[in-house]
């Protein structure tokens, strides 16, 4: 049978399963007694084994099989988890990832895994994977056996634990059935209001149907929620009835005893709160209905998605842009003809195509989670290698970015994280000595603001030492002693982005070959973004990356030079000005102006771009003031046309590198305008 057609699906799914494995493993490391997590990993590993055997990747199947055996042992309490076992399993997952990667790159997925397999086998036999550490493995299993049948039909283990705990804390649990009027039009809105009322007086831990089915109005008139509160039945009922169009409320007290019986074996388990992944826990409670993990889990399974090749989306986008251009023409024609009916139709079409544009652009948006989700494991490995204790906090993983940005941003982030862990966070001993918590915290935070997405990497480590940076920069000839003294702290920090700079006194494996941070800066700038540093010595540093929401649509200022139109990205423009010709001064061979007390070099785009001249200069010059980092220049143009959102296009593969041109766009009249690359104009 020809397997090639399934290969892509296989690779995608394998990656997903491996991702689940590593996420759950990290979770398990925090809650080693929670066997439901082991089950989760086991399922993923099992599916992966099946798939790889079918596809004929023996090594992959073999290693997964060994890992599965160990997991099975853990599940049945034959093996007790300890850090060594975790290391081996992580190693196995790493190997599996490498194999899948090799397959996706056209390789055969073979890899020497005998060491890991050997270690897994040792674990399986109940011996320690490390010679001489046998004693550890002999510790008897103490966790209680898992009751297989359970109450899975209604409440899962997580929910049972939450129930159990809340009883202990004196909460009352109710099952509330709420029925809406039959003629209720906005059922989802009513549900939301009911939830809002409930959230004020307690916590909803489960709903039937699930929260998103409720949101999509996939229910008749009534729905049920399980609710924890300290209020009485009567008060609750009154509060809910205040929501209009609620027909009837039934509140039933939950029977502690039956539930407790089935939940008792799990009483020793960790509290439910700790099971929440950090990203979820720190997420602001924006949506009332998504407060518990189970609900968001069920959303994943309910999501109806298909995989679409990114190329097809690009084609769709292209076709759509053409439509936009034709729309512009139609609008022009309809204005000229002044026909009412035509006018209305064209207007309607414009509105629809506007909606369409939003949808198409949104389709290209991917949550940064796809990049962030590999970091927890990386940080764990790194922390172990460096003998540091690090807690990685991820905030705002759901923030969306254009697919093209996502693809590029991974490496710079890895670099900055490594940098924060290697150079930023101190060793536990040093931290203790300076009165900090032994465990260093690294926060990775993403959020939207205006037309940009910000990604912050903050550590609470040693911060950047001004003296050390300056000393290094002087040694490497990046600054002179004269300028060094006058630099602000911020300017000093910027120096670590200069090429050929490395502050680590000793070169380590992890980072610090001095080739890194300037590459990071370049990559981010090539994406149209910026990166800046803030730091306080002793308290830690923050790297702030600012990225455009999307690469395919940018805001520009359109300018005219003789008969040609050019677009200048707004992101590099500081302001525009009109100056008198006689204000121009000559400094050496460079024409400059005095602009707000600064000497501003002028660049005549007409000369740089060799624009054919039709009319002579006027008395006044229009200048667009642009910047690259902290350098500025004034681009002299003939006139400003205005600000516009444009679709960024490449010049085609034949002309991929034109001087000082970063791309092209198609204007409303169907003509092509070139986009000026300010970065290459300023030296």
């Amino acid at each position: 049978m020809d397997m090639n057609q399934y290969l892509e699906v296989f690779i995608d799914e394998s990656k997903e399963h491996l991702q689940t494995c590593s996420e759950q493993l990290l979770e398990l490391e925090k809650n080693p007694d929670n066997l439901s997590i082991v089950n989760e990993i086991f399922r993923s590993a099992h599916t992966l084994k099946g798939m790889s055997a079918t596809m004929g990747y023996e090594d992959l199947a073999n290693l997964t099989h060994k890992m599965e055996n160990v997991l099975d042992g853990i599940r049945n309490n034959k093996i007790t988890l300890n850090p060594e076992i975790f290391d081996v399993i992580f190693q196995a997952v790493d190997d599996l990832e490498a194999m899948v990667l090799s397959i996706s790159e056209g390789g055969d997925g073979k890899r020497d895994v005998s060491k890991v397999v050997g270690q897994l086998q040792l674990i399986e036999k109940g011996e320690s994977p490390l010679a001489g550490a046998n004693a550890n493995a002999e510790v008897a299993a103490t966790a209680a056996p898992v009751k297989q049948e359970g109450m899975k039909g209604i409440y899962d283990e997580f929910e049972l634990t939450v129930l159990q705990q809340s009883w202990e804390q004196g909460f009352q649990s109710y099952e509330i059935t709420i029925a809406l009027n039959e003629d209720c039009l906005l059922k989802a809105a009513r549900v939301f209001m009911v939830f809002e009322v409930l959230e004020k007086s307690g916590e909803v831990i489960k709903s039937l149907p699930s929260a998103d089915q409720l949101e999509e109005e996939q229910f008749d008139q009534d729905f049920m929620v399980t609710f924890l509160t300290k209020e009485t039945k009567e008060d609750l009922s009154k509060k809910i009835m205040k929501v209009s169009e609620v027909q009837r409320v039934e509140i039933r007290e939950m029977d502690h005893l039956t539930l407790r019986e089935q939940g008792s074996e799990r009483a020793e388990e960790q509290t439910g709160r700790e099971l929440l992944p950090q990203a979820d826990a720190s997420k602001p409670e924006a949506s009332q209905v998504e407060t518990n993990k189970k609900v968001s889990n069920s959303r994943q399974s309910n999501n109806k998605t298909i995989r679409v090749n990114i190329e097809r989306l690009d084609i769709l986008m292209n076709l759509f842009e053409e439509l936009v251009i034709d729309r512009g023409r139609l609008e022009q024609i309809s204005r000229d003809l002044n026909n009412q009916e035509l006018h209305e139709t064209v207007e309607r079409m414009s509105r629809i195509s506007g909606d369409l544009q939003t949808i198409i652009l949104n389709m290209r948006m991917v949550p940064v989670e796809t990049v962030f989700n590999r970091f927890p494991k990386m940080v764990r490995t790194l922390a172990r290698d460096l003998n540091k204790k690090i807690h990685l906090e991820i905030v705002g993983a759901e923030t969306e970015l254009d697919r093209t940005v996502i693809d590029e941003i991974g490496d710079p982030l890895v670099h900055l994280l490594r940098n924060a862990i290697d150079h930023g966070v101190e060793t536990p001993e040093v931290r203790r000595a300076s009165g900090k918590d032994e465990v260093g915290t690294v926060v990775l935070k993403a959020y939207h603001s205006g037309n940009h997405v910000f990604i912050e990497i903050t550590d609470d480590g040693a911060g950047i030492s001004r003296e050390r940076v300056l000393k290094k920069a002087l040694n490497n000839g990046i600054v002179t002693a004269h300028t060094a003294a006058s630099l602000t702290d911020k300017q000093v920090y910027e120096l670590i982005f200069a090429s050929g700079f490395s502050t680590a006194e000793t070169i380590s494996d992890v980072s610090g070959r001095g080739v890194g941070l300037d590459v990071v800066k370049n990559t981010i700038e090539s994406l149209g973004g910026t990166v800046s540093i803030d730091s306080r010595e002793g308290d830690g540093s923050t790297f702030l990356i600012q990225l455009p929401l999307t690469l395919s649509i940018i805001s520009v200022m359109l300018v005219e030079i003789q008969k040609e139109k050019f677009a200048i990205p707004l992101s590099s423009i500081i302001e525009t000005a009109i100056i008198r010709k006689e204000d121009i001064m000559n400094a050496h061979s460079q024409q400059v102006i005095d602009f707000r007390g600064k000497v501003l070099p002028l660049i005549f785009l007409k000369d740089i771009f060799e624009v054919p001249v039709f009319s002579e200069d006027e008395e006044f010059l229009s200048v667009v003031i642009v910047r690259k980092g902290d350098k500025m220049a004034g681009l002299v143009v003939d006139s400003f046309i205005g600000q516009q959102e444009i679709v960024l296009k490449s010049l085609g593969n034949y002309l991929n590198s034109a001087f000082a041109i970063s791309g092209a766009t198609i204007l409303g009249d169907g003509q092509v305008a070139l986009i000026v690359d300010c970065n290459s104009l300023i030296k």
Partner: protein, 157 residues
């Protein structure tokens, strides 16, 4: 050049430059367009006239007269842009006219006679005789060689 000689005939698009007839196999041609507005791209090779908006795709344009170092003329009503594609490149070629599709028997294609010396000779992969017409088969790989983009620039810069 990727002309299939094994078949009896190949189908070509015939175009004119300065009264001579040239041919490109149809499988390399995407479209033939009238002259659209060309946006000049600064500081590139002299024969690159700029880019056009070809149904939403920004496409570079080469003037074949300039490429063959024949004197350039104003574009007229009959001037056409032949959109050709080679590997992952799509490029438009400006020609004086293009109005014919001809089947050339493979047997009629002869290699370029060696009496050359003109620039265009480099860009020719063969000559075909059909009835009384002599057609020059162009070599797209040579014409679209990106390495040559770099060389004639920056003289006045």
């Amino acid at each position: 050049m990727s002309i299939r000689i094994d078949g009896e005939e190949i189908k070509v698009i015939v175009f004119q430059i300065k009264e001579k007839e040239y041919a490109i196999p149809v499988n390399q041609v995407r479209a033939i367009e009238k002259v659209l507005h060309i946006t000049r791209v600064p500081k590139t090779a002299r024969f690159v006239k700029g880019v056009i908006n070809l149904r939403g795709v920004v496409t570079p344009i080469i003037d074949l007269r300039a490429r063959f170092e024949i004197e350039e003329t104003e574009y007229t009503e009959s001037t056409r842009i032949i959109i050709v594609s080679l590997e992952d490149m799509e490029v438009g070629l400006v020609v004086d006219a293009a109005n014919d599709v001809v089947d050339i028997p493979a047997a009629n294609i002869e290699p370029q006679p060696e009496v050359v010396g003109t620039v265009e000779a480099e860009y020719i992969s063969g000559v075909a005789k059909v009835e009384k017409r002599l057609m020059i088969l162009v070599n797209l790989e040579k014409i679209l060689n990106p390495a040559e983009l770099k060389e004639p620039i920056m003289i006045e810069g």
